[in-house]
Amino acid sequence: MGGNNKSGRQEAVAPAIELRGISKAFGAVQANKDISINVARGTIHGIIGENGAGKSTLMSILYGFYKADAGEIIINGNPTLIPNSQAAIAAGIGMVFQHFKLVENFSVLENVVLGAEDGPMLKSSLSKARSTLTHLAEEYELDVDPDALIEDLSVGHQQRVEILKALYRQAEILILDEPTGVLTPAEADHLFRILRNLKDEGKTIIMITHKLREIMEITDTVSVMRRGEMTSTVKTTETSPEDLAERMVGRKVLLEVDKKPASPGKMVLEVEDLRVVDDAGVERLKGISLNVRAGEILGIAGVSGNGQTQLLHVLGGYQSATGSIRMNSEEIDLSGAHSDGQSRRARSIAHVPEDRQAEALIMEFTAWENMIFGYHNDAAYQKNRFLMDNPAIIHDTELKMGRFDVRPPNPRLAAKSFSGGNQQKIVLAREIERNPDLLLVGQPTRGVDIGAIEFIHQQLVALRDQGKAILLVSVELEEILSLADRIIVMFDGHIMGERDPAKTNERELGLLMAGVNDDGKAA
């Protein structure tokens, strides 16, 4: 490994990218530890690992977004310094981030040109980009309207703009970070076709994902990362999903959830013709009707952004809507005055929202303050009419943290100092321990490590077995399939259909998620 001199033979087989001994620490956290990989030109290389394994950090270093503490980057056989993104672009590297880096109220053209202008005046840059885009669109199935505003485009199209941005800068190496997280299966298939086209043109692609299926489907080689280290690199043809999963977590994992068949009881939640129009005047829920019984988990599948969030917000009491919601056979007032999170909680509806850090927790608050958040008006937490009973709350929190295995079990620690999994356990402890008749859960395991996923899934099933009704929203099909007793698929604010998890599969659900009906017609 140690040789710096390049011989002619090495030149001939020089990999597109070679990383040697890359290390990076953020404060006391070692995000990348001595990482080395080779990626051959014209291949698709997958990097797989759990959340927080250091995948994105590594790629951000390669793209010059972060500076490595140690290590070397060698592009096409030439040691290259990448102190910033400009250097990465100059070295022919393009990156599609998980959260797109687009200017929402700019046109596609402006976004593509931004940073790659020809001169101080815009006019010539824009017309040049226009013709290049037409050309790229034909070559790689990357068609988008150059004059459309980003905010008017679907997520899939926005992603194409990101790829176009990279290609416009003549990237030879393309990095994609969790590219399918927000895509329907059909959109994902289209993306994979584009990636294969690019590969055929000799481009090198690195794809970060935590989805085993995608790795198996599209990559040539795959590296596994665990806790900041690169544990192994293998040819995709020589591995299996089970093998990769085991390498990811370092032990054998159960992907299936162990549960008995459901025994649904009385009707708990009945929703009829629910409609939501958002602030911008867009109809986000277009007549949703569903019901959940005691002792069952209703899973709502769908690509994110198809109305699931609005549904949870309406049920949770912080989004106005029309239609009807009956909870335990009593009509809920949707008119606003009595429609808020407090009144929902009073109706025995608990809610674990999709976005933990943005909604469920106050990151600066202590664990005990978060443990009463939303229930802070509860009589049990008050010492008298004016003062809260802090010592009692702290004691209560300690017990709950113990029961939900929150680590470290210190109620005085701020929420931000817990890991994602433990933050989620705090939220679940708060909501489940209220013994609600209905639990709304959104993305229960997003950003949660595998160990905690198992625990959270067990808790949900246990709650169901106690005869509680659960409405589960998740974009992870695997999660829906393993937890839900019935599955509803949402697309564009509609319900596309209901399926029995025992009698369906990812393919059928995927079609529904893409808005394709039973008869094969698009909605």
Binding site: A28, Y318, G341, Q342, A360, I362, F365, G374, H376, N377
Partner: protein, 365 residues
């Protein structure tokens, strides 16, 4: 994991910030041809060298505790109330109206009503911008600033109109009756055998300020309302999820803030002037911003910061006698620099201090 110990966060960093602000202020003094060390000497002597100096210092500090608490309560709800000045002005009208309306028999009876008058007028002046922010989305920073100007015009109008003392040349009300006179430090301490300056305006409102500080602490950290105010201030989306009404919290927090700013009028209008004049706030509303920032929005820190600013104000006035080239606006410069260093340039000090502690910790483990 915390990057540095709590004492460093709460005391060391603000202390370094303060030192930097004073250093730059010293350079300003130097630039106008005076000796900064002499200036410090005169200021400290003026502020603490006599019971009169101390009396003035604590009198100013009383104002700053009120306005500092006002800014802090709004800060906890992530509302930037720059309108303390206007709220105090309008509260002055409230205090004056209450005290002019009756011939009060005793201050103990007059004080609660003056508090209610001042508090409610101050709260009202904060409530309008709060309502506009909560319901109409107007930027509260701009509206509260506009309300400072409007408040100044309002008091000008009233003091030249219905509230004007007809037998005076100046735009002022007639003097309040003797029954509205608040006991001064001299009057309180004399029976105890303690000699305190007769001229110093320090009065019982100082105790009121300390009580307010305790009440604000209880409110913010021990009550449901405080919990909701802090939650709303930290994360508006989460507050929505929890069923905390943004409109309600915005308005309540601003009402409390405005009422606290209004207490300044009790100290100045009732306790010192004993009549309403136009320019009685003298920028104390703005000083409250610096006080709240330095005190990290915590009542204990605010009381300490208010004492410091009280010293600065009183010392600044004394300085004028000693150094004719210096003007009283020097205090404003010092305040501005303190706001700048503790509020806006905080990371300039914090980052390196954090790095030092991180290195120390690594060295140890």
């Amino acid at each position: 994991m915390d990057k540095m110990p709590r004492w460093a966060d709460v005391f060391l960093v603000p202390f370094i910030n303060l030192c930097l602000a004073f250093m730059v202020s010293g350079l300003v003094v130097l630039a106008i041809g005076e000796n900064p060390f002499d200036a410090i000497y005169f200021m400290v002597k003026g502020a603490l060298g006599s019971t009169s100096g101390i009396g003035y210092t604590l009198y100013y500090a009383t104002n700053y505790i009120f306005t500092g608490l006002a800014v802090a309560v709004a800060f906890h709800a992530r509302l930037f109330n720059i309108g303390g000045e206007g709220q105090a002005i309008v509260a002055g009208i409230g205090v004056a109206v209450v005290l002019l309306l009756f011939n009060w028999p005793h201050w103990m009876l007059a004080l609660p009503f003056a508090i209610i008058g001042g508090g409610s007028f101050g709260a009202l002046w904060a409530a309008i911008p709060a309502y506009l922010q909560a319901k109409r989305g107007s930027h509260i920073v701009i509206t509260t600033i506009m309300f400072n100007f409007i408040g100044a015009a309002l008091i000008g109008y009233l003091l030249n109109g219905i509230l004007k003392n007809p037998s005076s040349q100046n735009a002022e009300t007639r003097a309040f009756g003797p029954g509205a006179h608040l006991p001064t430090a001299h009057e309180i301490l004399a029976p105890l055998g303690i000699e305190f300056s007769k001229s110093a305006p320090l009065n019982i409102a100082f105790i009121l300020a300390l009580i307010c500080a305790v009440l604000v602490w209880v409110l913010i950290w021990r009550t449901r309302l405080g919990f909701q105010i802090r939650a709303f201030g930290q994360n508006e989306d989460a507050a929505k999820y929890a069923g905390i009404s943004a409109v309600k919290i915005t308005i309540i927090a601003m009402l409390i803030s405005g009422a606290l700013a209004g207490m300044l009028a009790v100290n100045v209008v009732m306790g010192e002037q004993e009549r309403l004049i136009k320019e009685f706030v003298e920028g104390a509303g703005f000083v409250g911003i610096a006080v709240a920032l330095m005190g990290r929005s915590h009542p204990f820190g605010i009381v300490l910061a208010a004492l410091l600013f009280g010293m600065l104000t009183q010392g600044g006035f004394e300085l004028l006698w000693e150094m004719p080239t210096v003007s009283k606006e020097l205090v404003l410069v010092i305040q501005a620099l303190i706001i700048l260093f503790t509020g806006a340039l905080d990371n300039m000090v914090r980052d390196p201090v954090e790095r030092i502690f991180l290195r120390l910790r690594k060295g140890r483990s």
